[in-house]
């Protein structure tokens, strides 16, 4: 439990762009480095967090829960939120005063493509729980096109994915 809290506290500080950016690293730590669960279980836990209301940061609580029960879940969530929250708290006013500073604009522009790369990686890792597989690839491509092309609530696409999963997997 302390190990997962420690990892998530570190992850917290590099989570620019929020949870989607750190999904690939979280999966790598939990599945590949520590072997706490399989890639398929990781994708399922992520699915539960997506299906519940609330911020997607709750996936950290579920990963912690899977590793060390409910106390593990609360510890993982707190570990992920507190360092970043402390930073937001500290930076809140300062950032606005630096609105026109050139370094702020350079950092902001640099982070856009990096976030794109990280979020796409997170999607790839979550969509390939069984390695590259045509069924998963079809479901993931369909939902990717749907979210990029329409403005409907993403819950519809998740439900459609669940239905397709029932028949395909």
């Amino acid at each position: 439990m302390w190990q997962i809290a420690f990892y998530f506290a570190l992850l917290s500080l590099v989570s620019v762009g929020g949870i989607p950016s750190v999904m690939p690293e979280m999966q790598r730590l939990v599945v590949e480095v520590q072997g706490w669960m399989s890639a398929a279980e990781f994708t399922q836990i992520f699915a539960i967090a997506q299906a519940a209301p609330g911020p997607n940061v709750l996936v950290t609580a579920l990963v912690g829960w899977k590793v060390a029960g409910i106390p593990g879940g609360l510890a993982a969530l707190a570990a992920f939120c507190v360092p970043a929250a402390a930073l937001s708290y500290a930076v809140g006013g300062f950032w606005d005063r630096m609105r026109d500073a050139p370094w702020r604009k350079a950092i902001q522009r640099a982070l856009v493509p990096i976030t794109v790369g990280f979020v796409a990686s997170g999607g790839y890792v979550l969509a390939t729980p069984m390695g590259v597989d045509w069924r998963a690839a079809s479901i993931a491509s369909a939902s990717a096109v749907a979210i990029a092309a329409t403005r409907a609530n993403p819950l519809w696409f998740l439900s459609a994915g669940g239905l397709a999963g029932y028949f395909l997997f």
Partner: protein, 187 residues
Amino acid sequence: MEATPPQDAVRPPAGLGELYWGFLSIGARSFGGVLPWAHRVMVEERRWIAPADFAEVLALCQFLPGPNVGNVSIVLGRRWFGPAGAAAAFLGLMALPLVWVFALALLYADHAASNGVRAVVTGVGVAGGGLFIGTAWKLARPLAQKPWALALAAGCLGVIAFGRVSLFLVLPVAALVGVAAARKDLL
């Protein structure tokens, strides 16, 4: 009928209780994403904050590490009521979703042995991965005319998704490259 206040009258929450309830209602209703509900409750229903102000706070919070809307709750809670406000807003936002997600997880744990249930949940997870890819696509659209930015994005994707290199290594390197490129107006 009473006189309605002007459209742009912004009135921050009167106390910690109102702040907490407001964020509780954001968390409770946020199926399928928190951000639209955060906007609806704070900007449209309760008029705590002006739309442009909200957009700026959000831009900051998307830049900062950590959960985006979680950071919004901290920054605005602090602005209105200091540390107690930050805590009240954050806890309000998280309270109900946390109960929900644990309840769902326990329910799932009871039924995970069933192949059908596992297949549905895997399908939802894979579709969720697809949503990330689609979101990345949308974020990348403004970069279409910027080959350096696309190359940086593709490089990050390649080393992380396929090379499985740690983010702790990729982020500092990519940030240095990105800031250097941005200063030369390549991004």
